[in-house]
Symmetry: C2
Subunit: 319 residues, 2 copies
DNA sequence: CCCCAATATGAGTAATTGCCCGGCAAGCGA
DNA sequence: TCGCTTGCCGGGCAATTACTCATATTGGGG
């Protein structure tokens, strides 16, 4: 006969999850939770706040706010998009990525639910990372996940750039990282990497991608490429002088969405997202500071789908 | 040029959803929300509480609590189940259905995500209704949804029994209600309904179901069948005297899970879930008062999968 | 047009929560 | 062993939230 399991020593995560569940779903007060769990009220409070901080408790909105639907329709109309999703504004001091991630996750899940196996290509960045973190674990082994961007960082810290790996973990799908530097130090080095057969196979797969998810980076002084150490201040200055406006998967373009033929663009590894692709290329980008970069990418049809937040959507439409 | 949409007059739901979003995702105080939305602080508070009350804000747990995993393993072992899911206890005064619904919804979504089109048969009841309400909208038109149970209620109020229709709405899948009374007043009437060709076609489809989701009702004095007016007090008494312990899709069985050949069982419409089916038959049932009914259904293998709450799982295992 | 019922609103208040702090115990290197 | 750091614990308090009650408003029926 099966024995009733005894909770010998629930892990901290277990306890936090339980506290959060009792608080948000059960609607108990922290006093009641404390009594239920046999801990002090203060500990109950700490457990609840830990549960939200660590993302053990997920909040989703099941009602599509009318104003956001309107914005989606307007974006679709204005830029001829295949998909547009707008996340409601989450408050003045609140990180736009955090607001957008749940919506982006739902969009990714929509693709993952598709019956036929697809090749899904992914860029990198905070937005994509947030999207994957906000996603439910769902098995979708029929798909293949391929990175558009190199996984060798200048300082060797790969932790931030494992979007594909993290996603593969969650969906248990085969994944293909791009074994090249994000940006090589010389053109020759980049060429040498791309001459390798294993690299070429991944590149070929990425080119065939059925769906593309990418972040969009601005090229102003707060450019993610600079912040993450992929380009130097001097390189950024040079590209800005040449009209650099935005960047997708590390490839820099100008205000018309035309890729520049200078600077790091000659040494960027991986696969460039070509304008006007007939298949979905969804940009995930939050924050009004990305407006010019987004406008250019949309105009040139580097991306033909968009997940963004409400203020950014408004900014794009009032241009 | 597309116009920026103006929020002329956001609906009450819109405002409530937005307030809930700002509160739970953005972490603003109600004062800040009031300022953001341009309403009084009290109204902000009411909007937030409305958002949770109406289910506009969904809470899910992304961490599986160890103790619940242990219970799932023990249930699987003890009753030879294909699937077992246990929702964490949500507090003493909290409706067990509310606690279990999100977990049941995740289980249903898992089936709906499957690539090949399945025939999914559904019973009815509060648990199933909760499951469907807690579900995300996901398109799954490859499946067919069929009701196991009649959709003609004694008082004509079909509102509570449209689980199949509500689900079909959410997944945009073809659906087949069972156009017969839940329980006819005479055997002859029941036979007459089932002699009709359209009824027979639905029955045939339900019999072929690839997956079955059903509630499980107790037959004690608080039996759902009695509460919802499907059986009279006298009928319940008679069946209790004959050993009635539980009920699945309206069909009553005894403590060994053997269907009774008396009472309303002779007049119940729709399709009976036969014991020992080789395909998944998942019981969704929450609340310790259902323990005997569940134990019998599990023993006889009327159901071979279970989604329940923690206290009920413990009760089943300590029998 | 008026009245009634249902519902929303605002003020006040009690309950609940978030957070700062001093204290304490465990871990660790000298 | 001592002294130090680290992290948890519980007390206490200010901020925030939930609830009650009296009043206002809206909409429908007569």
């Amino acid at each position: 006969m099966a024995k009733v399991p005894q909770a010998d020593e629930p892990s901290l995560h277990d306890e936090a999850a339980r506290a959060g569940w009792l608080y948000y779903l059960g609607g108990l007060t922290q006093d009641q939770i404390a009594a239920e769990l046999g801990v002090s009220r203060q500990r109950a409070q700490r457990l609840v706040s830990r549960a939200v901080a660590e993302g053990l408790i997920q909040v989703r909105l099941s009602h599509r706010i009318g104003a956001c639907l309107d914005l989606e329709a307007a974006l679709t109309d204005r830029f001829g998009l295949t998909r547009a999703r707008v996340a409601p504004f989450a408050g003045p001091g609140v990180d736009a990525v955090r607001a957008t991630s749940p919506v982006a996750a739902a969009e990714l899940e929509r693709v993952l639910r598709m019956a036929e196996g697809k090749v899904i290509a992914l860029g990198t960045g905070r937005s994509l990372r947030g999207m994957v973190d906000a996603m439910d674990e769902i098995a979708a082994p029929q798909h293949r996940l391929v990175s558009l961007i190199g996984n060798i960082a200048p300082d060797g810290s790969a932790s931030f750039f494992d979007v594909v790996m993290r996603l593969a973990d969650k969906v248990r799908a085969p994944h293909y990282p791009m074994p090249v530097p994000v940006i090589s130090t010389t053109e020759a080095e980049n060429d040498a990497f791309h001459a390798l057969a294993p690299v070429q196979r991944v590149v070929e797969l990425a080119r065939q991608a059925d769906v593309i998810f990418v972040g969009v980076g601005q090229m102003s002084d707060d450019a993610p490429l600079l912040k993450d150490g992929f380009v130097t201040r001097a390189e950024l200055d040079a590209m800005q002088a040449a009209g650099a406006t935005g960047e997708v998967a590390g490839w820099v373009y100008d205000s018309q969405g035309a890729y520049l033929d200078l600077g790091t663009n000659r040494r960027t590894g991986g696969v460039r997202v070509e304008p006007g692709l007939p298949r979905p290329a969804i940009g995930i980008a939050a924050g009004v500071q990305k407006t010019p970069a987004l406008a250019a990418a949309l105009k040139a049809r580097i991306i033909n789908g968009l997940v963004t937040d409400e203020p950014t959507a408004r900014a794009l439409l009032t241009l």
